[in-house]
């Protein structure tokens, strides 16, 4: 099977500092990929490059056989890559439903007719349909995370980039969000999932990529990665 996303020697400098150094990997369609690493490993930088929020200094990004290197985030979203933010960023003046509508109307679907029903269905799907007409600012943290996911899903992505969807959530909330991720995967969307919470990520991913100091350290199944000595060294080296 052809990879849905393939990145090749992606490098990013910030004002002379190297944030990412020649990172390469492929994602196959339909999986949940975990992206882990200690603080400052370059996970969010990589996610931002894939989402088009920032542009790589060098390297290529190929998505569904299209070279999308350096595309802006709206172009990425229209191509089918969409991200969520670690801290939810709802459009505060808009209702929950209207927030989702933005995704419906401007994402890959560029929907017009019947899209409202779509937006409502998505809200139902993530479990906040009862809040559709509430102002988005009134939502709890957990519901804001769901809204963040709903908005992203509304663009009908092929690849969903999740940035720490579980941070700041309680145990039961985390469990329910993880269930949601699996549901999304079941519906055919590939997920690249950045997470600090190792337990969460190991439980949900079928493939894990480990980064350290801006470089890819290892990748493989959760079990294989967990027993990789270089990974252990990186984590222990940091915590010690």
């Amino acid at each position: 099977m052809a990879p849905i996303l393939s990145i090749d020697r992606v490098t990013k400098y910030f004002a002379g500092l190297t944030a990412l150094k020649e990172v390469s990997f492929d994602l196959q369609p339909g999986g949940i990929y975990g992206l882990i690493g200690p603080n400052g490993a370059g996970k969010t930088t990589l996610l931002s490059i894939l989402a088009g929020s920032i542009q790589p200094t060098s390297g290529t990004v190929v998505f569904q056989d299209r070279n999308v290197t350096g595309a802006k985030s709206f172009a990425m979203a229209q191509a089918g890559i969409v991200r969520t933010h670690q801290v939810p960023r709802p459009f505060r003046a808009l209702s929950v439903l209207e927030n989702v509508e933005v995704g419906v109307r401007f994402g890959r679907s560029q929907g017009s007719a019947g899209d409202l029903w779509d937006a409502r269905r998505i809200l139902e799907w993530v479990g906040i349909a009862h809040l559709a007409d509430a102002p988005s600012v009134t939502l709890s943290v957990g519901d804001q995370k769901r809204l963040e996911l709903a908005r992203a899903l509304a663009t009908r992505p092929s690849l969903l980039l999740c940035d720490e969807v579980c941070s700041g959530l309680t145990e039961p909330e985390t469990a329910s969000v993880l269930r949601l991720l699996r549901k999304i995967q079941d519906a055919g969307t590939t997920i690249l999932y950045v997470e600090h919470n190792l337990k969460a990520i190991m439980s949900v991913s079928h493939h894990v990529i480990v980064m350290n100091f801006g470089e890819k350290l290892a990748e493989g199944s959760p079990e294989a990665v967990q027993s990789d000595p270089s990974v252990i060294a990186a984590y222990i080296g940091r915590t010690a």
């Binding site: 505060r92 003046a93 102002p135 600012v137």
Partner: protein, 419 residues
Amino acid sequence: MANYICNPTKWYSLSVGLLFLALLAVLPGCGKGSKGGTNEIAIGVVLPVTGREAKPGQYQREGIELAIHQINQGGGIFVRELGKKLPVKEVFYDDGSDQAKSAGLVERAMSADNVVAVLGGYSTALGEAESVMPDRYQTPWITTGAAASTIFSHGYQYIFGTLSPTDLLGYTTAEFLGSVVDHGKLKKGLKLALALENTDHGVDYGKGIDKWIQEHPGYFNVVFSEKFDLGSTDFSGLLQKVKNARADIFLADAHLQDYITMHRQYMQTAMYHQMISYGARGPEADARKALGDATNYIFAGIWWSGKLPYPQVKRFAADYQGSTGRPPDSWYAATAYEGMRALAAAIEHAGSLNKTAIRDQLRTVELTDSLLPGQVLRFGKNGQINTPFVIVQNKPGDKVDIVYPPDAATGEAIAPKPR
């Protein structure tokens, strides 16, 4: 600034209602305005008494009000049609030196206040904007402070002006300098540097100078001529160029504020010119206050001077001092005073308050005891008067002398300017 979108339906009708209320509030405000009736003659006065042109605008207002005061002391203007004298009532608006506003206020006076005529329009830009209105409302308008002849070149039928055209100012300025050369005080063939305000006023001034120079070859040649924007805070760039041009005579054409700012910076560049003029500005008290002795020997071509040797000028100066507590500062009050007097004469001749009849009389009215140089005020075919200019020069000890024309002179021109 969040959360300004909410369900519009709740308050929608309310906001529309507010709009209606606001509109209703407007209407009575505009409907009113004195329905002058037959007890008095309403005359609109639109001048800048705030903003950049506040000082001259204020002087002009004082001139007009002095004339109105004197007319009313005599019982008013006799209107034959009504068989009685009616007092003059001033309807005053301040345009804040803003041209769009001044046009709007002239329109307001002409359409809502039942005036028989409007006086005003100080400075060329404001005068240009106002000059659109008189023909629309068939109401005579006399500008007492805008001299650019373009205003009078559009074929308007209801506009008049009590300032001679600016090209004559430029011409007289050059003529005066020529006479100084003839007296042997300055050499022939001197180099002139011109700095002109970037308006029709400046253009006309420059044209006048050019005209004289072309008619009298050999006297002067212009080595530098550039425009500047009124209201700048900084003229150092322009002055640097003037300095580099190494001219013998510096002639600028500026408004009062610009004259003060520019001359201050002129002094700081350590330039020397044998003669300096700022066009129609020079002897003002404000300049003296801001610049002190640095204003000495500056000469100016002006429409009127308190030094003119006519008895009516002495009387006017005394009356003005009596009503305001200070002597007339330069020419501003006099041309405004004369504008009001000419209007009063025209109303009396017309014998009615019909605006077209008054306009017809303004075309032929003649004041033979005028304050202005030559003592005769008569509007030309285009509506503008054409009295001669006088050249005055500042002298040490706060003295100002008329130095040209010779028949009005109160002192000798000092040239070249002592270093």
